[in-house]
């Protein structure tokens, strides 16, 4: 018996969300008293034995360049075969863009109950119950999984990466590679920016900033902090900022350690995408802005006066 962690990678590197999944899988394996294994489909440059630091004992790899192009149907068939061959009883994937396509396919294929968006380790004292966020982060549900095999899709940034000193054994595994039905014809990544879904710190701007020409201060603060940038929906709808930065009910959901909101009113639909952030800071000139109710720290003031001073003191803090 084992816990099998699907290791997602891009541009030759393991995604941070997969290091979280590996850490989670290893802790779950020790809770269950079974082995923790990883599965890598495709080729990468990353140091695979280093997954031992997250607690994996063994990493199985299918070295095949064509698998770097993601077809969830093809990969679900391969993961399912690995689950059977290795006798895995729990599969852990990240609930990132890859996991959202792979997890459900795998679930239907193996008739294995899926918890999409888990935020904590399962409670195994009576059955197998996993906590996940529901109602766009406004509540949590306890999901009981009744099937013999279980699939957990872990919410990015909900579980810390552990850094022990183990080293994982890496071995090739022989799995049938079905024909891909999806052909990737082009990739367009925003260079030099931290993807929002992976960011630990996010600086975000709303309509209070008046226009796209005023985003310099948002970008400067984000740059200094190593944060990603985000925005409210009207800001993306007015094309002040690209669509992928839009967070909220109908945009992306983020759960960073810090969400720094400038000139955003904090409408319930906006909060739905950010309310799982660990610390929320709000800069708004209106003391009645609803965002203050959801915030941990705040300044009631004009962003155009406050932000330059904040940037200056962050510069001092960072010794720049």
């Amino acid at each position: 018996m084992s816990v099998l962690v699907y290791i997602d990678h891009t541009d030759g590197e393991i995604k941070k969300s997969s290091l979280e999944a590996a850490s989670y899988g290893a802790q779950l394996a020790s809770q269950l008293g079974v082995a923790a294994h990883g599965l890598v489909l495709g080729t990468l440059n990353a140091d695979l034995p280093a997954l031992g630091k997250q607690g994996l004992q063994k990493v199985h790899q299918v070295k095949n360049d064509s698998l770097n192009q993601f077809d969830p149907g093809q990969q679900a068939a391969m993961v399912a075969e690995a689950v059977t061959n290795l006798g895995a009883t729990v599969v852990v994937v990240s609930n990132n863009v890859t996991g959202k396509a792979l997890g459900p396919r795998l679930s239907a294929r193996l008739k294995a109950g899926l918890v999409a968006g888990a935020v904590a380790l399962p409670d195994t004292s009576n059955g197998f119950v996993v906590k996940k966020a529901v109602f766009s982060g406004k509540a949590f549900a306890q999901i009981a999984v009744s099937s013999p095999i279980k699939i957990i899709a872990l919410t990015p940034n909900a579980f810390s990466v552990t850094n022990g000193d183990g080293s994982a054994e890496v071995a090739d595994i022989n799995l049938t590679v079905p024909a891909a039905k999806i052909k990737v014809t082009g990739t367009n990544k925003i260079k030099g920016q931290i993807p929002l879904s992976e960011a630990e710190l996010v600086v975000s701007g709303g309509r209070g900033l008046k226009g796209p020409e005023n985003w310099g201060m948002i970008e400067e603060l984000a740059d200094l902090l190593g944060a990603a940038t985000a925005c409210s929906r009207p800001v993306a709808d007015s094309h002040w900022r690209p669509h992928h930065e839009h967070v909220g009910q109908t945009g992306g959901a983020v759960a960073p350690n810090l969400y720094f909101a400038v000139g955003i009113s904090g409408a319930i639909q906006h909060l739905a995408g950010v309310n799982r952030s660990k610390v929320i800071v709000v800069i708004n000139k209106d003391p009645e802005a609803p965002f203050f109710k959801a915030a941990d720290y705040g300044i009631v003031g004009d962003a155009f006066e406050v932000m330059p001073k904040i940037i200056d003191s962050v510069k001092k803090l960072k010794g720049k």
Partner: protein, 247 residues
């Protein structure tokens, strides 16, 4: 070309989230129900656009749920679509819902099944992938664009920090999100017409659920905001560094 669009019902985005029955049931009293925004704004509208381009297209909607969903289904029909099918089953387990949709898709001989990116209540993002697997069709998730050229589809899908263009041939399952289409408001003609469109009720196939909801909980209340005076923003930076330890 036959297109099937999956329509789900969710509480209005501003609904108060509370639970009853010892925190095992969502409190529905006073809740306004809406079509799940991803299904309405993106999946359905894109399907309608495809039908507008090629009027021979047959466009059906499917919902899995009880008769209390009929009002929402009619609202969706007011936007467009030829008829709707409601599979008469109340369930929250994604696998049982997906199994019903897969059966409808198989029986109806559809070429393209659309779902929304996720429901805004249970946030599963699961149904599309499950339906695709049950049908053994390709699945393009979190799609922001879709063009058809005969039986070939060109799509754009989200990846971390960007997007990817992909190609697949029909039959195909697609989960739609922002970018796929622009929200439409139903007009009077659509609303009147929706009343007479067929809403067929089908009986579910027997499937065993794989998961169940054991209970709900609300997040712990926030301690309250710590306000820093506007003339001393340096203090905010200090607090974030020394107290919250996030920077």
């Amino acid at each position: 070309m036959k297109i099937l669009v999956c329509i789900s019902k969710t509480p209005d985005t501003t609904a108060k989230i509370a639970f009853t029955d010892n925190n095992t049931k969502f409190a529905t009293e006073g809740v306004q129900w809406i079509i799940n925004p991803y299904d309405e704004w993106y999946a359905l509208v894109r399907a309608i656009e495809l039908k507008e381009k090629d009027p021979t297209t047959v466009l059906h909607l499917v919902n899995v749920g009880g008769s209390e969903n009929d009002a929402i289904i009619r609202k969706a029909l007011a936007l467009g679509g030829d008829e709707a099918i409601r599979v008469n089953l109340e369930s929250q387990d994604s696998f049982t819902i997906a199994s019903q949709i897969a059966q409808v898709a198989k029986d109806g001989g559809y070429d393209l099944v659309f779902t929304g990116k996720e429901t805004i209540d249970y946030n599963g993002s699961s149904i599309g992938g499950m339906v695709a697997e049950l049908l053994d069709w390709p699945y393009v998730s979190l799609a922001t664009k879709l063009e058809l050229n005969g039986s070939n589809a060109s799509l754009t899908r989200e990846i971390e920090g960007g997007e990817e263009t992909v190609e697949a041939s029909l039959p195909l399952v697609v989960s739609a999100q922002k970018g796929m289409a622009e929200q439409r408001i139903p007009n009077m003609k659509g609303i009147m017409g929706a009343r007479t469109k067929p809403l067929k009720v089908g009986e579910p196939v027997a499937v065993e659920a794989l998961t169940s909801i054991a209970g709900f909980e609300l997040p712990p209340a926030k301690a309250g905001v710590k306000l820093v005076p506007a003339d001393n923003p340096e203090e905010l930076v200090r607090l974030l560094h020394e107290e919250a330890k996030v920077i």
